[in-house]
Every structure is written in C-alpha cells, then in structure tokens.
C-alpha cells in the first residue's frame, strides 16, 4: 500500500494508515492480527513496516490468539497492538479480560462495521461502544478512545499507547469504517512533538523480592520484562502482590477495587474532547467519530443563521466522562446525541445529565454516513417545526 506523499511529513492517507503511523510514532514493536474487513489495511501496513524497523509482525490463526500473542509480547517489554473489527473483537474478549486482570499494557483497535454477527462488513457503524465497555465478563474498568479525523486518530493512537503504559491496562481504540477508509491529510508530528510514555520498569535489583502487583504511591506498578532478572507469576486468577493465585477475601476485594479505581477515579483526567460554541448553546450536539463532523457542520450553519448550536465531541468513550457531559448540558434546552447505533452513548448521556428528558437521538443504523441534514431534521422535529 503506497501512501500518496505531498511532503516528507504531510501525507494523504486513509484512516487505517493514520492509525498505523500513530502506533509507529508511539513505539510499537509487536503486532499480531488476523485479517478482517474493515481493519485489514492495518495488518498489511504493519507487515510492511515492522520488519523494517526492528519490530515483529505475526499473522495469527484467529483474533483471540492475536490478543494472546500481544499479551505475551508485552510481558517481554514490547509495546504491542492488534487490530480487528466486530466479529474479531467478540472473539478477543476472553483475552481482553485476561489483560485487564493481569494488568498488561497493550492496544486493541476495533474498526467498527455494522453488527451483530457478520452484519455489514464493508459499511460503517458505531455499534461496538457498549461491547468495548462490557464485552468481557466480570466487573472491570476499561479505557476506550475514538477520533473523527486522521490527525486526531494519529494522536488518539499515540495516547492509547501512553495510557496503556501509565495505567498498566489494555486500551481500546474504536473508530468507524468511514474514518478507516476515507482519505485525508495527515501531518506527521516531528519526533518529540507528542509526549510518549515508556514502560515503567522496576528498580528492584535481581535477587531482591520484586512484587509485580504492588502499586507505587502514585498508583503505577513498575514492571519487569519476562526473560529478565525477576521471575514471577502472571495469572488470570485473582492474585496477591507476587502474582500468586489467591482466594483470600481481602486480597480479592483489594484487587477488584484496584482494577476499578485505577481507571474510574481518573475519569475526568482521561476525558479527551473537543468543543465548539458550547458556552451559550441552547442546543447541544454530542457526538464522536465521523458523525461529529456532520454535527460540526450543523452547528456552524446554525450559528450563521443565529441559532445557538454547540458541539461536544467525545474522544474518550470509556470511562464515560459524565461530569464533562453534565456540565456541557446544564444550560441546554435540548441535547441531541449523534451516533451510528441505537443510542449507546445517548443512554450514557441520559444517565449523566440533570434533565434526561431533554436528551434525544439523531442516529443512522443503515451503514450510511449521518449527514448534516439527518441531524437538522431531528432538531426541527424536537423543536416542533416538523420536517
């Protein structure tokens, strides 16, 4: 796959390549994956780039093994990632839970197509938002990020790698097929322009008792690479600070709280977003991914015509930024959530705001892009102006 290059650092590429460029910028050195539309270009590009940059690429036999392989690679100290779409993401869920429980930094990209099941392989959707949150079993917290442009996707991917290291957690990058296959400009930041978080390794010397699951005062857990001087156990069972399985109620209780709190207590800090004309907006559009582009167009046109329309574009979907959403909607007459599903984020918004009855949904679930007209029609209806 050749990228059309306009200059050394300015590219004209599709979204999947923007994601790959972000991962490479962040320092990925291990990719495992299984082909699936509409994410396959990520694997193709990785197979081209990683061997040339000292990294490892492997095409696995399915998606769950891909997820398992990146966990194994991450334990040896590498920044690792896999990419897939809905059916493959379903297959990965058990291993995703393992990465949560064993606190393994890694990045999972899910390019969303229509579902359930095989669904609409070549068309767009945002139907996997709740799956990203609750796809794997058991209580857990998760970080899921998204983006609406190639530049933002690049930065989001870098951020995903950073958060994976900071939180010792898998981080999910969700974006829709439209973003994946649309081509637009991407300006590659120079090295150093975006901050990178590297693996936090323990300073405990060999021969001294290293506790892989003992958090520092700032909540971070220094790691030791497999193959290094510390030999410890990693398991998907509830475990003590040495990684040994435990059913001790105190140990179980504390680990559950640790896994939850390390992410949920940082909800506001993790909340990435963009906003447009929110200050005095009486109509607030909340959106994410490519639908946010249409929401922006509606707001711009609305403002030109004297309507007080604003946009809150979410770039962090999980943990859901309830506080941010509540504050943004406090003075709104109507809140319209624009998304390509049956209201997955709409439900979160309703739960977050003080007046849930003011929250409406402008959606499409037919694989087609949500156009600005789709949104303005809903605004007219809600305002009582008919179509």
């Amino acid at each position: 796959m050749e990228a059309a290059t306009t200059s050394d650092r300015t590219l004209f590429v599709h979204g999947n390549q923007a994601c790959v460029e972000g991962a490479l910028y962040a320092g990925i050195s291990f990719y495992a994956g299984y082909p699936i539309t509409p994410s396959s270009e990520i694997a193709e590009e990785m197979s081209l780039r990683l061997p040339a940059s000292g990294g490892k690429f492997i095409q696995m036999e399915d998606e769950i093994s891909s997820m398992c392989a990146i966990i194994g690679a991450s334990l040896t100290g590498r920044k690792a990632m896999t990419a897939t779409s809905g059916p493959g993401f379903s297959l990965m869920q058990e291993a995703l839970g393992y990465a949560i429980m064993a606190e393994i930094p890694c990045v999972i990209v899910n390019v969303m197509r229509g579902g359930p099941s095989t669904g609409l392989p070549t068309q767009s959707s945002q139907g996997d938002v709740n799956q990203a949150r609750w796809g794997t079993h058991g209580d857990h917290a998760i970080i899921a990020l998204t983006a609406s442009s190639h530049q933002a996707l690049f930065e989001t991917t870098v951020r995903a790698f950073n958060l994976a290291e900071t939180c010792r957690s898998p981080v999910i990058v969700l974006y829709d097929e439209l973003l994946a296959h649309m081509r637009e400009r991407l300006i590659l930041p120079d090295p150093g322009d975006l901050p990178l978080v590297e693996r936090l390794r323990t300073f405990v010397p060999g021969g001294v008792d290293y506790r892989p699951y003992l958090a520092r005062s700032d909540g971070r857990l220094p790691m030791s690479d497999f193959g290094g001087v510390h030999r410890y156990n990693v398991t998907g069972l509830f475990h003590d600070m040495w990684g040994f399985p435990s059913t001790d109620p105190t140990v179980v209780h504390e680990l559950m709280h640790h896994l939850h709190d390390k992410i949920v207590q940082r909800t506001n800090e993790l909340a990435a977003y963009r906003q447009y004309a929110l200050e005095d907006a009486d109509t607030v559009l909340i959106s994410y991914g490519t639908p946010a582009r249409s929401a922006m167009e509606v707001a711009r046109k609305g403002r030109e015509n004297g309507h007080k329309v604003g946009v809150l574009e979410l770039e962090t979907l999980w943990p859901f930024p309830s506080q941010l959403v509540r504050d943004a909607c406090d003075n709104a007459r109507v809140v319209i959530v624009v998304e390509m599903n049956m209201g997955q984020v709409r439900d979160q918004v309703r739960a977050a705001v003080r007046e849930p009855s003011r929250v409406f949904l402008a959606n499409r679930v037919d694989g087609e892009f949500i156009k600005s007209k789709d949104i303005s029609t809903i605004i007219r209806l809600v305002d009582g102006h008919g179509v």
Binding site: S65, I71, G72, R78, N233, V234, P245
Partner: protein, 280 residues
C-alpha cells in the same frame, strides 16, 4: 543445582490428588531442565487452564498461567518477541486439543521453537471428570454416563501432520524415558511435542474401574511398547512409545530473522543504487 532449587516452595502444597501422574511429569521436567543446565531466567513456562496447567506456578522460572486452550498463542507472542528464551508449555488433553486444538495445529505448522508437553489423562480432572477428545470410545465420564461414542485424536499422528518437527510419546510409568525425551524435546530447534500418558485415579480410574494409581501405572506399562517392538504387529491394541518425528525443518523465529536480514540487505542495495544515480 539440586532439582528442588527449581521449585517455588511457597506455592506448596500442590493441588493435585494423591496418585495423580502430573507430579511425576513435573519431576521429570525439572530433571531435564537441570540436565540441560538451563538458567532459570532464560525459561518461560506458559500454561493454560486445568490440573496440568498448575505446573507453571510451582516452578521458579518466568511463569505465565493463561486462558483455557490459549497457552500456545501467548507462548508464540513471548517467543517471537524474545527468541533466545526457552519456552515450555505443559498442557492437558482438553486444554491442548479441544479448546486449544487450533492453536496447537498452527504452532506446529509454524514450527516455532517451543516444547508442548501434553499430559494426557484422557479426562477433564479439574472440572470433575468429563470426557475429553483423547478419552476414546467406551469410556465412562460425568458427561458420558452411557459411555463415550467420540473417537479420539492420535496425538502423534496429529502433531506429525500439523508439522511438528519433534514428536514423542511415553507414560508416567517410564520416568527415565520421559526425562530423556524432555531433554531431547527442549534441545530440539522447532516445535516439539511430548505426549505423556498420565493417570487420573480420582476421575478416570475410579469411573472406569482401573483401580489405584499403581494399578493404572501397571496398565500403562502393559499397554505400551517401544515403537520398534515386534509386538506391535502381533497386537494392534498396543500403544507405541518413543520418538516418532525428529526432523530438521526451518524454525519460525529464524525464518523471521532471515526475512528481516533480507529486507535490510535490499534497503542497503537500494541506498547504494540511489547514491550511484545521484553521482551521475
């Protein structure tokens, strides 16, 4: 170094039932590691879920206790990432060949350098005695109260067909043979499989009237012969033991390194050509 120096004593007592064959396999494995003079820091043991998978916790190496059936997939990530490490993957029969069957086939196909040890007791022990894909026909199990009608896999033939470059089979009765085979398997460059027929007196033995652990061990002695034995022709019910495959086949991580070297050489040649063009 004494064998017990490879043990994590604080992990004991172990979870296995009295008479279980898995401890015998652990013992042979530790002796093999000791005989090979491997450093603890260069060994990664990856296991899935089940009685056999608990081996990993008891050994003082890098240990990764993973998901049911997926140990080889995790192990593949570790190995490709750090090819210099020695990877050992103890698995149960259900773990390796029911839920993990696909990963087993593909790890064998790639011929990635690791040792899969299949502790075959023909039963799901940890969950209470359900039949496995290696139980075979006519076996009583908690999910086969009228006895099994499922045909079993032959681990040796399956491994050979999938591309494993070292395949051996023995039993927990033949402990010295087991140790020797493990030494060979771990030394082998490529995907090696050692099937160990092991006894589960608690679930398999009790339900199938095979008696005590000692009775089951005696039965394994009687039911198996070396693979070059003439008795095999006379009695087709006998199970052959020995090294069935020991072949020299390119190993996956080495092939990956070759690929990288090839790419690097191509890039170098291209740079030289570009420089030459610029000079003209």
């Amino acid at each position: 170094m004494a064998v017990d120096s490879y043990i994590r004593k604080r992990f004991f007592p172990h979870i296995w039932c009295p008479g279980c064959g898995h401890g015998t396999v652990l013992n042979a494995l530790l002796r093999a590691i000791e005989a090979l003079g491997l450093s603890k820091n260069e060994i990664v043991m990856v296991s899935g879920i089940g009685c056999s998978a608990r081996i990993s916790g008891y050994v003082d190496v890098h240990t990764l206790h993973t998901l049911h059936g997926r140990a080889l997939a995790f192990a593949t990530g570790v190995k490709l990432s750090r090819p210099e490490l020695t990877i050992l993957v103890p698995m149960g029969d259900g773990d390796a060949l029911a839920i993990g069957g696909n990963h087993f086939l593909h790890a064998a196909r790639r011929n990635i350098d690791m040792t899969a040890i299949i502790l075959n007791n023909r039963i799901y022990g940890m969950t209470g005695g359900q039949f496995s894909p290696l139980s075979g026909c006519g076996i009583e199990a908690t999910t086969a109260p009228y006895s099994t009608i499922d045909h079993p896999f032959d681990v040796v033939e399956l491994s050979r067909a999938a591309g494993a470059s070292f395949v051996a089979r023995t039993t927990t009765f033949h402990v010295r043979e087991l140790e020797k085979m493990l030494i060979q398997a771990i030394s082998h460059r490529g995907f090696s499989v050692v099937e160990v027929l092991s006894q589960c007196p608690t679930h398999f033995g009790r339900r199938n009237h095979e008696g005590s652990a000692v009775d089951m061990l005696k039965k394994m002695k009687q039911a198996t012969v070396p693979l070059n034995s003439g008795k095999l022709e006379l009695d087709c019910g006998l199970i052959p033991r020995g090294v069935f495959v020991d072949s020299d086949k390119p190993e996956y991580c080495e092939l990956y390194a070759d690929l990288v070297a090839r790419k690097s050489a191509d890039d170098q040649a291209e740079r030289v050509a570009a420089d030459a063009r610029n000079e003209v």
